[in-house]
């Protein structure tokens, strides 16, 4: 029996059992032990591999200090010399996903070490690293942990032993956009005709070459005369009037709100606060202008720099919110802004 392969694990402050949003600013630290999901993950390696240590880093710290965080990870890799690096799973957590994605990309590019992570398909971290690392397709919340870990572990075992992975759908990872040459029984013309016939008959078939979907929106033309322009402000930072009258969800938002700010010069606490469940709202609750800069816009209006601040501001929470809901909110808000003749929009995100 050969020696066990070594895994270095990465988790955020929450899964690292350090704390919640109040600890999201913690710099990375290394512990020579298994923390959080690393424990269950090692169990799923079935004795073939060992998690030699866990890096824990706050989500805010990583995203605000990317290079410092990556340097710490590089340094740890050089000391620990793992055979595989595993991060997450991050599910649909945006900041955690970005951290796992940046780490996966950097490690896969700079070291000859395979990297395995796990994310929900809509996590913005997927695009960062899916072509460099293996991103296991997970559920959108931590409820999917028990399903995700064995899949990540099975892939890790193969990679550590240099075994080639099967196709993404079979193994459970997100396609990397690679094409591989392989032997099949039927030649291409025959497979194509069979697919065509299946399509004619309304039967199911699976394409061998899914078409990429590109959705870029061309930049809208710039505002010509700012001093005559109406500017609207929107946020995904969850700022709402006291009492949250429309009941905007603190995560996975199903709706957005618009609130009249024509009669006020700033967003004062406690008249406004943040209902967002994905960041530490202490600073926003102290002064909501730190998220929605209404005070400044009103001043620019007084100075004549801009024509007018649009009478409503628009708000929702952007944590765990599905892409399809965000698109719907954008379409609805955009239609209203267009109708109102708004010339430009500032959208702030936390």
């Amino acid at each position: 029996m050969s020696e066990k392969f070594k895994v270095l694990y990465y988790v955020n402050q929450f899964f690292g059992q350090v704390g919640g949003e109040d600890k999201a600013g913690m710099p990375p630290e290394y512990r020579p032990e298994k923390v959080g999901p690393a424990l269950g993950f090692e169990g799923a390696l079935q004795g073939e591999g060992e998690v030699v240590g866990t890096i824990i880093c706050g989500d805010n710290y990583f995203n605000e200090n990317k290079e410092e965080s990556l340097d710490f990870i590089r340094k740890t890799i050089k000391e620990v010399e793992p055979d595989v690096v595993v991060a997450g799973p991050a599910f649909n957590a945006g900041r955690y996903g970005m951290a796992c994605g940046e780490l996966a990309k950097a490690v896969a590019e700079e070291f000859e070490i395979p990297v395995v992570t796990g994310m929900y398909i809509e996590n913005p971290g997927v695009e960062l690293c899916k072509d460099k690392a293996i991103v296991v397709s997970t559920a959108d919340s931590a409820a999917g942990m028990r399903k995700a870990l064995p899949v990540m572990a099975a892939i890790t075992r193969k990679l550590a032993k240099g075994i080639e992975l099967d196709a993404p759908a079979q193994e459970g990872y997100i396609p990397q956009g690679r094409r591989k040459t392989l032997f099949v029984e039927k030649r291409g013309s025959q497979r194509a005709i069979e697919m065509l016939l299946a399509r004619f008959k309304g039967e199911e078939f699976e394409t061998e070459l899914p078409m990429p979907v590109f959705d870029q929106v061309d930049p809208a033309p710039a505002i010509k005369d700012l001093s005559k322009a109406t500017i609207a402000v929107c946020t995904s930072g969850g700022i709402v009037p006291q009492g949250n009258p429309d009941g905007i969800q603190s995560a996975s938002a199903q709706k957005w709100g618009k609130y009249d700010v024509s009669g006020i010069d700033e967003l004062k606490a406690p008249d406004f606060y943040s209902t967002h469940g994905g960041y530490d709202t202490a600073y926003a609750n102290e002064d909501p202008d730190r998220v929605v800069p209404l005070d400044i816009l009103k001043e620019y209006e007084k100075e004549g720099v801009i024509g007018k601040v649009y009478e409503f501001f628009f708000t929702t929470t952007g944590t765990g919110t599905s892409v399809s809901n965000a698109q719907k909110f954008g379409r609805e808000i955009g239609a209203m802004l267009k109708e109102a003749g708004v010339d430009g929009v500032i959208l702030t995100s936390t």
Partner: protein
């Protein structure tokens, strides 16, 4: 949301700290901000300095809205 609003032909600027997310969602005008929990504020500054910082950041956003761009552009 940024992309869907821009689809109506209205210029929009995304003020965000994790600008890599702004890029991946397809924002064309981006102003990098201070920190995730306080994008346009900084509680460690005096109220006057914080106000001046916010004014500067929003000024950059307005400049972005009056600047023609052809693709993803950061205004720093």
């Amino acid at each position: 949301m940024v992309k869907e609003i821009e689809r109506y032909g209205i210029p929009i600027v995304h003020m965000a700290t994790i600008t890599t997310i702004s890029e991946s969602v397809g924002a064309n005008r981006i102003v990098p901000t201070v920190a995730i929990p306080h994008p346009v504020g900084n509680p460690s500054l005096s109220p006057e300095d914080e106000y001046a910082l916010r004014k500067e950041l929003v000024g950059k956003a307005l400049k972005a809205l009056t600047t023609e761009v052809t693709g993803t552009t950061h205004f720093e």
